[in-house]
């Protein structure tokens, strides 16, 4: 924690000396970044951003409840510290939840989240190198031309301290690349790609552009899939979105609110229908994972947490407040998705004589979190039938996440996509394809 920051020092002094306050937390986040925008290959705009926010949270006893309120200070707010603390104390005194305790002092785990190439003055130079690489790749593919590119390079420095003795700081970097390519043909098409990583060496510009170019070209002759019920293989890029209901129902908050369909120690409501057992972990210590952290917003250290093992709900992911209520150990916020490798080679997932639809991307996959029902348009896919592969765009795939997982076959091959580490694809049976 930066004790040298005068605003934080003033806040700490005000909070520590106030007898009305039962507990407090100060979080300071410094953000800096460099943004580059190209239209075709020409610069449209360049932006440099920088800012610091300091959030103070106070806890005040209100009868048998514990009230909590937060206030934010920006650069130049030094003179407002006393007023802000008064406002926080007043607001906290109006409300209240069951009491809980802040995380105590603990060692901050070393989690790899920082790339110096994206920090400080180097961010601009790195951005220009990446933009140059993108320009080269974007004009290198026959039948495809660049539409636009957006590139964000930046860093966050997060400091946190609380009245229970926790103090820590960690730095994280991020590089984000939006690629838009156009292809002319029977049906003029575009391909959109949004890729984010924590370090530059994990962002493979050549591979990203090559894949987008291949898909843009393929889409010029894409058709809608045939209607029916047949196997659907879903690419790793969509697996986290598909599993969102699992994330929601496995949270400590859902358990506490009694809105979860899961019970700790019991199988998930998945009826096995020939699929491989489902396992899931969330790993905040995954090196260079996009959602990795040294500690979460209340000071819980980053770690790997097994959520589901062979279909059984083993641990909820839970912050400190709900952990105290549920009388379990806090795990910290949900972070990166980690799934074990499956048993089936990727090539076999699309095998067989009958039609198999491989979905690279949906238009927007947003399953109903409560029920698990979903339906989404195919933005890019391929139909495999009798050894041939046909590009697909349009039509919808619908089903239920919990029902489909009982049939899931996961690929042996694994990929790392920033916040997802796991099988390259999953094959699901019994989904409905509505197309031509």
């Amino acid at each position: 924690m930066s004790t040298r920051d005068p605003q934080v020092a003033a806040l700490r002094a005000a909070l520590t000396g106030d007898k009305r306050i039962r507990g407090w937390q100060i979080q300071r986040v410094r953000r800096a970044g460099f943004q580059t925008y190209l239209v075709r290959t020409e610069p449209e705009s360049e932006r440099r951003t920088e800012g610091v926010t300091t959030e103070a949270t106070v806890f005040v006893e209100n009868g048998d409840k514990l009230g909590r309120a937060g206030v934010t200070l920006f650069a130049g707010d030094g003179a407002a510290v006393a007023d802000k603390v008064e406002a926080a104390v007043f607001m906290a005194g109006l409300g209240g939840d069951q009491p809980w305790s802040l995380p105590a002092a603990s060692p901050v785990p070393a989690v790899a989240t920082f790339d110096p190439a994206l920090s400080g003055d180097r961010a601009r130079a790195t951005a220009r190198e990446l933009a140059a690489a993108w320009r080269t790749e974007a004009v290198a593919h026959a039948g495809v031309r660049p539409s636009s590119m957006e590139l964000f390079c930046g860093e966050d420095t997060v400091s946190l301290e609380n009245s229970a003795g926790f103090a820590g700081e960690w730095r994280g970097t991020r590089v984000s690349l939006l690629t838009l390519l156009l292809a002319d043909g029977e049906k003029p098409s575009e391909r959109y790609s949004w890729e984010e990583r924590r370090r530059v060496s994990d962002l493979d510009v050549r591979r990203i552009v090559a894949r987008a170019a291949e898909e843009a070209r393929d889409l010029t002759r894409a058709v809608v899939p045939p209607s029916g019920q047949y196997p659907v293989v879903i690419d790793a890029a969509e697996i986290a979105a598909l599993l969102n209901p699992i994330q929601v129902h496995s949270s400590g908050d859902s358990l506490y609110q009694k809105s979860s369909r899961f019970e700790l120690g019991k199988p998930l409501p998945i009826e096995a229908k020939g699929g491989e057992p489902f396992s899931l972990a969330t790993n905040a210590a995954l090196p260079y994972g996009l959602q990795s952290y040294a500690f979460d917003g209340t000071g819980i250290g980053g770690r790997r947490v097994e959520i589901v093992k062979d279909g059984v709900f083993t641990n909820a992911w839970v912050g400190k407040q709900q952990a105290d209520y549920l009388k379990v150990a806090a795990t910290g916020a949900f972070s990166n998705w980690e799934l074990p490798a499956g048993k089936t080679p990727l090539a076999d997932l699309t095998g067989g004589d009958g039609p198999v639809l491989y979905v690279r991307n949906f238009s927007w996959l947003t399953p109903d979190q409560a029920r698990g029902n979903f339906g989404s348009e195919v933005r890019v896919g391929y139909l495999y039938e009798k050894g041939a592969r046909k590009p697909i765009k349009g039509g919808t795939v619908s089903g239920n996440v919990f029902a489909a997982l009982g049939t899931a076959k996961w690929s042996k091959e694994t990929v790392f996509l920033g916040e997802y580490s796991g099988p390259a694809a999953v094959r699901l049976e019994g989904l409905t394809v509505a197309g031509g």
């Binding site: 009305r20 943004q35 075709r40 020409e42 610069p43 449209e44 705009s45 360049e46 932006r47 951003t49 920088e50 800012g51 926010t53 005040v60 209100n62 009230g67 309120a69 937060g70 934010t72 920006f74 650069a75 130049g76 707010d77 407002a80 006393a82 802000k84 008064e86 406002a87 104390v89 007043f90 607001m91 906290a92 109006l94 409300g95 939840d97 069951q98 539409s147 838009l180 156009l182 003029p188 209607s227 506490y256 609110q257 009694k258 809105s259 238009s363 927007w364 947003t366 109903d368 409560a370 029920r371 029902n373 339906g375 989404s376 348009e377 933005r379 919808t396 619908s398 409905t432 509505a434």
Partner: protein, 504 residues
Amino acid sequence: MSPLDRRQFLIRGGTSLAGVLVAGSLAEQMFLASSSRAAGNGNGAAFPGSLPDDLATLVADLERKFPYASALYMSQAGISISRDRNGKRVSEAGFPSRGVTLRVFDGATFHEAAVGSTTPDELRAAAKRLLNDVPVGKAVHRIEPMPKLTQHWTTPMERDPVTVPLADRLALVEREFERVSIDDPRVRSLRVATDTIEVRRVFVDRTRRLSNARTIIQHNVFAFGFDKGKPGFAFVRRNAQGGLELAALTDAQVERMRKDFAESFGAEPMQAGTYDVVMAPPVSGLLAHESFGHGVEMDQFVKERAKAREFLGKKVASPIVTMLDDPSMAGARGSYPFDDEGMVSEPTTILENGIFVRPLTDLMSATWLGTPRTPNGRSQAWDRKVYARMSNTFFARGKSEPAELFESLQDGLYLEGFRNGIEDPQGWGIQFTASTAREVKGGKFTGKLFAPVTVTGYVPEILSNVTMVANDFELEPGTCGKGHKEFVPVTSGGPHIRTRARCS
């Protein structure tokens, strides 16, 4: 008043709890006053402090080197009050932010320095970096200054939140919690939340000094439960610009929430197919927004990714379809008096009697393509770029009574409530998700309910299939992304419409 003074006052005030409350009213006044000062003053104020003058000085300095410069200040702050079965909370509303973007145009490219500060030293340092780092390029384009204007706008409201003590505002939420409670053993959780968001903006360039104090009320009620292991829920809200008069559901909304909750347990998955449908205003608005709205954001024309570019002046929809974007509508969540590039709001007719007549622009796309600007340059916050964006986007009223649309539906679906949607400006595909579909046979509901329902199709086909447009009108609040980022508040809506679409 120093903190020590206030603590002494507290001690004199009696018990600690009462003391906090009494002191709180003082603290609250100070907090609101300091927030107003920091965020650019409250309702009715003119330009906040010396910031417009400071920004004008910086713009003038920058224009000594560059052909065009501007400055935009944006801040957001607010209070969130919530109540559920476990407790109640009063705190800052999410995502407070405050900062300034200085922008220069070098003749071909925009360069911006965005700083999370309003201190003169930091703003001067940002301007200096632009002056030092950015060369003046070849003059490829020219930005024409707009007519001179100095003006301040505030949100009209009946009950200004600033005038109501926080304890009274919490009491409003507690009363609402009791009012909307559902006497049903299936209910597991019920939550009422009222967020009051204060947005401040100042735009300065060579000819303009514009400022705006906007108050947004977000009032949400959510109920969740299980019936024999099957989940069900209901979500109802009011979300618009105004005062605390918006911080309660209407009686009709309360009734609707209870009905939705009871019915939600019986919802079945949708059977995929192509159906005749009547879309309720939130769904017809989603169709307007996703089908044609995103596709006519003119920065997509510059990037050659908008199929609509080929259809300017041509028929793309049924002749009974007219569609507008209007950021000047009073009180709507997506409204603003001027856009983030200093253009004063006015309605834009996008489709007129089925003909595509005008796209939505930001400064960049209008300048690059040499077309008149529309007031649609918007950014998520001071640290994000401005793009061409929608505001309040809707189909214009038609001539049919809403009941006529139902009665005409012999075998089809009534689509209600929206969840989300995504654009496809190049392919003119469409995907959006409605909350529910009710089966209609012979002009009457059969009682069958499907949820959720994904609507997909080809934009010109769905718009050309519109056979009836009702004479009612309703706007639904939402948040719009550009792709999967850059979120801005919007509304979409219009009348009931009848068309044919693929649902799954």
